[in-house]
Every structure is written in C-alpha cells, then in structure tokens.
C-alpha cells in the first residue's frame, strides 16, 4: 500500500487506569528515516512503540503504518514490521537456531530464504558456532542479538527497536548502527528508542523528546537547538532542559553524603 509516510500517528492517547501513558501524541516517520524516541524512564516511549505495532489498543487517535490502519489491519502491519522489545523474552527452552527457524516460519519464509538469512545474520552478529545452544544459557547481549536477528529475518519495511543496544558489545552495537543506516538507504524506516543520547544524535535524522506521555519537541537535533534557543548545545543539554531534569547536582551531592 502506498502512503506518504511510513508511520502516521494522529492524536494518540493511551491510559492505564488513571495513568496517561501516551497523551495526544502526533508524529510522522518518513520512508527510510531513522527516527529516535527519547525520554526519561516511564515517559511513554515503549507504550507508543507497542501502539505502533498494534500490541496495545489506543484509547483515542489513529496510527497508520505504510498506509495500513494498525487497528483495522494488524496482521498486514505485523507482516511488514520488525520489532525488538525493551527486554525481549525469548523461548528459553529453544536453541538459538530453533528460535530463529520458528520466527522465520511464522513469517512463512521459504527454506532457502530462511537458511540464507539466518546463516548470514548469525555470522554478522557473531553467534555462529553457538546457534545450537539453548537460549536459557545465553547472556543478555546474546539474547538481544537473537531478538534483533529475529526482527530482521523477514526484511521488514519498518523496524521498531526499543532500546536495541541494551547489553550489546561495542562491535555488535556498531554492526547494528551501520545496518540501520544501510537499511535506511534501502528505504527501510526505523523507530528507535534509546537513553544514550550520543547514539541518537549520531544515527537519527529526527528525534522526538517525550515526557509524561507527551511529545515535548520533535525535529532534527539542529532544529531542536534552534527552537530551544540553545545553539551549540549537546542533545543531552537539550534533553535535560526540555524534560526539566536538568539540575542533578543537588541529588548527586545528597547521594554522596
């Protein structure tokens, strides 16, 4: 389906009881764009990502992914999206290869395609030689790699990555970052959340800063600097100012006492 944006989010609201996890959020992600979602813990980033995939039902507003309404066509959306949650829980009783084979089958990949892609990704993420080990014995970083591979197997048009660099060693993190860029060049869009602001600054073409379920600002880092009237500032300084968590000196001093 053709659409002007890869993701279109319009006034989305999601509440859990009395807590407003996401409130009146509107944003677009372009085709081939790497879009960063930034915000302190509990700001609504993960909830927004789950809403994009149709894993949660919004209480208001609408979301379309590649022209598909997430609520009306959840299966069509899931066919073209690759998702890595914040703490991916995998089937620990499976070996890595069994898990990837399982996921590939859910996307109905052919035997040939499965073999090619799984072998290629295992090699790229340095899991080759350990693919027959059960996931229960994997370290956090290795599990993260397995989840990332699983999300990439079916060549998605949109990648939703919730803190994907958690636990990854520097080499794998570099591979993932380069891969995201390469996929972006091929037209694959990525929505990416992270707490590491340097990484967001380095790989995202645009970012949205969330706080208490709302988007406080969105645009390229340069645009945000200019809007905030902080030319020459780092993304970290911008983030701390916008989210009102700037002065941490007193807290640190109190903790050190």
């Amino acid at each position: 389906m053709n659409s002007s944006h890869a993701v279109e989010i319009e006034s989305v609201v999601k509440c859990f009881g009395d807590t407003r996890a996401v409130y009146e959020v509107s944003l677009n992600v372009d085709h081939g764009e790497v879009f960063g979602l930034l915000g302190p813990n509990g700001s609504g980033k993960s909830t927004l990502m789950k809403l994009m995939l149709g894993l949660l039902k919004p209480d208001g507003g609408s979301i379309t992914v590649e022209g598909f309404d997430v609520q009306r066509n959840p299966i069509d959306v899931r066919r073209i999206v690759g998702y890595v949650p914040e703490s991916p829980r995998l089937y620990e009783f499976l070996t890595c290869i069994e898990y990837l084979d399982f996921v590939a089958d859910l996307y109905k990949l052919t035997a040939q395609t499965k073999k090619e892609r799984i072998t290629e990704f295992l090699r790229a993420f340095e899991l080759e030689g350990r693919e027959n080990e059960m996931l229960s014995g994997y370290s956090q970083g290795m599990r993260q790699k397995a989840a990332i591979i699983a999300a990439l197997l079916h060549k998605p048009k949109l990648l939703i990555l919730d803190e994907p660099l958690n636990g990854l060693d520097p080499r794998s993190a570099k591979i993932l970052k380069d891969l995201i860029h390469k996929l972006a060049d091929e037209g694959v869009s990525t929505v990416f959340s992270t707490h590491v602001l340097e990484i967001a600054e380095a790989i995202c073409s645009r970012v949205a800063i969330m706080h208490d379920g709302r988007v406080l600002a969105q645009g390229s880092v340069a645009e945000l600097r200019s809007k905030a009237g902080m030319p020459g500032s780092t993304l970290e300084e911008l983030f701390l100012k916008l989210t009102g968590t700037g002065d941490v000196r007193e807290i640190v001093e109190a903790l050190a006492r």
Binding site: D101, F102, K108, L109, N132, E133
Partner: protein, 549 residues
C-alpha cells in the same frame, strides 16, 4: 534460626503468592491480604461444620446411627493423610512452576536467609495458602464429632492434621530440591537424548512423590496393616492416621507412640528439606548444546499432515516446551499419576485384575479418565504456558485460525500416542473382543478431539501468562469451568456406550445398537468440536488484538 526473620519471610512469600495470582482490584482489594485467607478459612470452617451437623442429624434421627458413627470415625482417621495429600497435590500442580533461570536469579538466593529459615517460611506459607482444605476438613469433622461424641478424637485429628499438612508442604520443598537437582545434574550434559532422560527423571520424581502421598494407596495400606503395629511402623506417612485410629480404640500407648513418631517425622522432613535446599536449591543455568549439526531447514511430517509453516512451527515449539521445560514435566506426569493412583489400589485386590469383567470396566474407566483429563488439561494450559514470550506471537502475522489449528494439533498429536499405548495395553491384558476394542479406540480418539477443542476454548479465554511462583497458565475461573465442562462432555460422548452396557437393550439388535452408539458418539464429538472451534477462533481474535498488560 531467627524466628523473626522466618515470620517476616513467611509474610513476604504469602503476600507474593496472593498478589501474583489474584486479579482482584478496587473495592475487593482487601482479598489480596493474608487476613483474607483467614476470613475464607473461617467461613469454610463454619460452613463445613453446619453441613456436617445437618448430615449427622439425619443419621441420628434415622436408623442409620451406626453407619453415621462409622463414617465419623473414618473421617477422623483418614483426614490427616487426606489433607497431607491435598497439600502435596496442590503443590505439584501450582508450586513447582518457577522456570530454571527464574529460580537461579531469585532475589531470595542473594539475601542473608538460612536454609532452615527459608524452608520453614516457605512450607508455612504453602500450608497457609491451602489452609482452606484444613478448614473444610476440620470443620466437617467437628460437626460429626459433636454429634457422635468424638470430641477428644477430633482434637487428636486436629493435631495430626496440622502436622500432616506441614509434612505435605515440606514434601513440596523436597520435590523442589529434587527437581532442581535432576535438572542441574542433567543440564551439565548436552544432547537431545539427555533432554529426554531429564524429562523421564522429572516425571519419575513427580510420580514417585505423588504415589507415596496418595491417600487411596495409603488407605489401602492402612486397611491391610490395621491392627499390626509392627507393620505400620514401616509406613511413616500413615502414622498420623494410625495415631487417631489408636486413640479411637482407646489404645493410648499406641496413640502416643504414633503421635510422637509423627512429630519426629515432621522434624526429620524439616531437617532433610533444609539440607536438600542447602545442597541443591540454586540451579546453575549452563550452556546446553543440543546438536553440532549445521542448520538445514526441511519440511517435516507436520507439513504432510496439512499444517502450514506457521502452524508447524508452533506445534514443534510446543513439543519442545513440554519436553524441555522443568515446569511442564508435571503436566506430562498427570495421566500416569491418574491411572497409577486408580489402578494400584485395584491391583491390590483380586477383583481389580483386568482379567475379570468388572476389572476390565474399571481399567477402561481409569485409562479413559487419565487420557481425557490429560487432553483437557494440556489444552487448557497451552496458551498460558507461552508466558512472557507470548509477544513473539503477538508481533507476528499469525492468523487466529492458524493459532487454533496449531494448538489443537499439538495437543492431539501429543495425546494420541498415550491413548494408543493405553489401548494396546488394555486390549492385550484384557483379551477384549474386536468390537469392544474398536469401541474403546473410538471413544479415546473422540474424547481427545473434543477435550482438546474445549480445553483450548477456555485456555484462550482465560490465559494466565504470568510467570510467578504459582503460574497456573490458566486463570482459576477457566480451570474450574474447564473441569466441569470437560467432565460433562466426556459424559455426553460416553453416554451412548454407557446405555449399551448398562441397559443391554434386548428389544434392539445389539450390533445395530452398537453401530448407533458409535455413530451418535461421533456426531456428538463433531458437533462439540465444531462449536468449540468457532469459539476458539473468536476468542483468539480478541486475544491477539492486544498484548495483555
């Protein structure tokens, strides 16, 4: 041992169990506190007491006084071992569901708590969680005791029941340690054969523990050794009941001896469990390499059964789940346990032999019950057992009907070999006719099909994905509804054959009636399965529409 720490830990464990399993929110939030258990216990005690009083008054106002008195005596004697078994059975079903990695990273392992403190706190918490059994049992016993003048015996029953319940709870602790040990020991080896061996060992441990705590077996044993003090000494788990029995026979010396031995047994269990926990509690998840073969995807026999890749993938995963997860082994032990606990006492009597016609019917009933319960239960838990890894399915383009077909297929493929093994056994041992043998096979196949669909229908509607110390995989409402519905459906499918056997309809040609019975039963099965399938697909649509929060 620090008693204050033990008490605090007992409170924490009870709170964590209550809050992990309770879905009550809002105004009924007070039900998520330990005091709610006390309230429920009080209500259960009074309720059971009133019902027993009413029942006893019926006995005393009619000519059945001696029968009522015998019943009261039997209740007093059997209650301690029955309660011990109930706690043990509940433990097997609900207390052993911590996954391997979960246990090894459990916060409790890193806190300054000794093994004895933990064992006492954990067993006290388990015993408290299931105290409603004790309340019902002792309330009912008090009602009978007052009516038949057995109040002193009731006090003895209370004492022995409490120790019995504690022994049952300690048995769960021992079982936890043993399963950890079995897992750790075998996990150090690699290969698929070891996984199967591990499964067999775990099932054997479950079956062994359940059988030694089984009241039917213990009561048969009690019957066969009654009056023989020397014989009873060799069966420690019947000591609590023997103490009550001796008391009722005014043999105070024997009663004191068995009561003393019961306390000694409790103490021994406690110390043994503390040692076991110290030695085996914390399993070390290690890397397990299952093969060294290079990856070669191929279409297996599941695709030849008509399942598409997504469906086959789920079936394969579910088989691996059952055969590799420690917390799932208990479910595979269920048919063996049911059949063994029904057949062992019958084998102790000469009439229970499959060679006699009464024996063959009992064997048929036991095996059918075992298979039916297994198919129903594994189907009911098949959705909830996905646990927190369920997001893998939610985020994939899986259609509801694919999910239903996969889950039902997995359950049928798993249950059928067990049914066929039972069928071959009964056919060979009972020397049954071709017709009876065919009917038995049809009944088993029909029951597996219908119960798998019905089980899944409830599994999808009431899944419990929580990975807690008492993971049920299905919510209590679903479990209870499933049990009742499952039994009703089994009754309906068996009814045409039952009429044939019971009434021996002479006005109708037996062969014609047999054919009609088979046909009716199969039509009923098809109808039930079709209705349940539609309900499954509809509930799966709702389920997959949003990740449970």
């Amino acid at each position: 041992m620090n008693l204050k720490t033990t008490y605090q830990l007992t409170k924490v464990l009870t709170y964590s169990q209550l809050r992990a399993t309770s879905r009550i929110r809002g105004r009924l939030d007070f039900l998520r506190r330990p005091s709610a258990i006390l309230l429920i216990d009080t209500v259960a005690f009074v309720g059971a007491f009133l019902v027993a009083q009413k029942l006893a008054s019926i006995f005393t106002t009619t000519t059945l006084t001696s029968m009522g008195s015998s019943l009261a005596v039997q209740v007093m004697v059997d209650l301690p071992i029955f309660l011990m078994f109930l706690v043990m059975l509940s433990g097997l079903l609900w207390e052993l569901s911590y996954s391997f990695s979960f246990t090894s990273t459990d916060m409790i392992n890193h806190l300054p708590i000794t093994a004895t403190e933990y064992v006492l706190a954990s067993s006290a918490s388990v015993a408290f969680s299931y105290s409603v059994y004790v309340a019902v049992g002792l309330g009912g016993a008090l009602g009978l005791a007052l009516q038949f003048g057995l109040i002193y015996a009731w006090v003895m029953t209370v004492l022995m029941s409490l120790v019995g319940v504690l022994i049952g709870a300690l048995g769960i602790e021992a079982l936890r340690a043993f399963t950890n040990r079995a897992s750790s020991l075998l996990y150090k080896r690699s290969g698929r054969a070891v996984m199967i061996l591990r499964l067999v060992v775990l099932i054997a441990v479950f079956v062994f523990f359940q059988l030694i705590f089984n009241p039917t077996i213990m009561l048969s044993l009690l019957g066969s050794i009654a009056g023989s003090v020397q014989g009873a000494l060799y069966f420690p788990l019947v000591w609590p009941s023997l103490a009550v029995a001796s008391f009722l026979q005014d043999n105070l010396l024997s009663a004191s001896l068995y009561a003393f031995l019961t306390f000694l047994l409790g103490g021994f269990f406690f110390l043994a469990c503390a040692r076991l926990r110290q030695a085996y509690w914390m399993p070390m998840p290690v890397s397990v390499k299952l093969s060294t073969a290079t990856y070669e995807p191929r279409a297996g026999f599941l695709s030849r059964l008509g399942l598409n890749p997504a469906e086959s993938a789920i079936v394969k995963k579910d088989f691996r789940s059952l055969s590799r997860r420690r917390e799932m082994a208990r479910f595979l032990a269920i048919p063996i346990l049911i059949v063994a606990s029904m057949l062992i006492p019958s084998l102790m009597s000469t009439q229970g032999s499959p060679a006699s016609s009464a024996g063959i019917m009992f064997w048929f009933f036991s095996l059918t019950f075992g298979v039916t319960f297994f198919a129903l239960f594994t189907s009911m838990i098949s959705v909830g057992q996905e646990g927190s890894a369920v997001w893998n399915l939610y985020s994939s383009p899986l259609l509801p009907r694919e999910f239903v077909r996969a889950k039902v297929s997995a359950n049928i493929i798993l249950s059928l070999p067990i049914a066929i093994a039972f069928w071959v056994g009964i056919t060979l041992l009972g020397h049954t006719s071709f017709k009876a043998s065919l009917a038995f096979l049809l009944v088993l196949a029909a029951l597996i099909l219908a119960e798998s669909f019905v089980g899944l229908m409830l599994g999808v509607k009431y899944p419990d994905f929580g990975e807690t110390i008492r993971s049920r995989f299905i919510r209590l409402t679903g479990m209870l509804t499933g049990m009742l519905l499952g039994m009703a459906i089994a009754g309906a499918i068996l009814a045409p054959y039952g009429l044939y056997v019971l009434f021996k309809l002479q006005w109708l040609d037996r062969n014609i009636y047999f054919a009609v019975a088979c046909f009716t039963s199969l039509i009923l099965t098809a109808l039930i399965s079709a209705i349940a399938y539609r309900a499954c697909v509809s509930s799966t649509k709702k389920l997959l529409a949003g990740l449970p929060v």
